[in-house]
Symmetry: C2
């Protein structure tokens, strides 16, 4: 078995087994040795395809983030931001164990830079000043990463006994245990409130001569532009 006609490994086979292992056993559960065993091979063999474990994780990150979509800004900045945030969060929520790594070096991946560029362009194109565009992009990422991060960890314990009596306002907290629903609802609430707040701000700071925010109809611009 030292020299098979068809290679036992491909980079894709490694990646797919690694992602399955992370999903199953957590980020700490992924080791090069266990992964190799899973693939019917010895650990040293992996290094013919990957330079380091870090490179493998970056591969996984790229695969997981492939579903992120920042193309919605043609329909307006609010629509673009919403689509980006939702697709981003869904991508992370599909592989929660990988989230701590994904947040590790976001600025260095080409995919992330492409999206950051699209978001920044979409916002400035809609009239947001560049500095606001930067902050709004960052803020949205805070929400997405925070939601994926916090919910991945389980949040509340399943053990009802812990809460009863001790923390009166949390007496129903056990109802949340393991429910992904509350996570998505909380995220949607946060996103909506955030965007509503931005819409109000938009009327104050947006440059004229660009398409206005489509849904910002309920407030009026009552301050002068700075």
């Amino acid at each position: 078995m030292a020299r098979p006609s068809t290679p036992l490994l491909t980079r894709e086979r490694i990646r797919s087994a690694a992602l399955a292992m992370v999903d199953r056993d957590g980020l700490d559960g992924l080791s090069m040795r266990r992964l190799a065993a899973d693939l019917g091979v010895r650990a040293a063999s992996l290094y013919g395809y990957l330079a380091t474990k870090e490179e493998l994780l970056t591969d996984l990150a790229d695969e997981v983030l492939a579903g992120v979509d920042s193309s919605g800004f043609t329909a307006g900045w609010r629509e673009g931001l919403t689509g980006w945030a939702r697709s981003y969060r869904e991508a992370l929520a599909a592989h929660p164990n990988l989230v701590p790594f994904l947040a590790h070096s976001p600025g260095r991946r080409p995919q992330a830079l492409r999206h950051a560029d699209a978001v920044h362009g979409g916002l400035t194109g809609a009239g947001w000043p560049p500095r606001y565009a930067t902050m709004i992009g960052a803020s949205t990422k805070y929400l997405v990463v925070g939601a994926a991060m916090t919910s991945f960890s389980g949040g509340f314990a399943d053990d009802v006994e812990v809460y009863v009596g001790r923390y009166p306002n949390l007496s129903q907290a056990h109802l949340l245990a393991g429910h992904e629903e509350i996570d998505r609802d909380s995220f949607e609430l946060a996103l909506t409130a955030f965007l509503d707040g931005l819409s109000r701000l938009y009327d104050q700071v947006a440059r004229p001569g660009s398409e206005p925010g489509v849904r910002s109809g309920s407030e009026k611009a009552d301050r002068s532009r700075t």
Copy 2:
């Protein structure tokens, strides 16, 4: 040196050296063996004071989160939420390398539960329905953890060459590198927009008979309560 009159170690000395090590070398840079060496002792000695490395990290988490303040709800739900979010973020930003661990099991620490209880109580006491209180508490945590998580990782590369030409909308991105200022500003923008959005929602869903949100003067409740 096998039996000193005064013990070489205390739990506090261990904790303080460990936190310094995490701050200096990162979460992966903390090992029980290196920590022991730092304390002039062998790794096995640490297990007289701590059951596991996990327990040590939990100790660090409690110390870092000691500065979080959820007592501001007497001045109104918006004030309480703002104070909690800011003190929470500051606590995390002071030890960014620990953030990935802090997000790991937030629901099981007594401190975190006390704060969660105070926030939930503060919100429901101000008229927010319990389900909203839960979601708002979660949302705020998303923002805080996301901000601490994303900014800890550095975000953008310092290398200007990477951006020029390739990503036109990010041509000024290098200006952000290493600047903590943009992180705090982005967080403040996100928090303000989020709270503005909540204020509007408050007028729609808040129970009567409670103190109203202090600063929610600019909108009117135009829908019936559900």
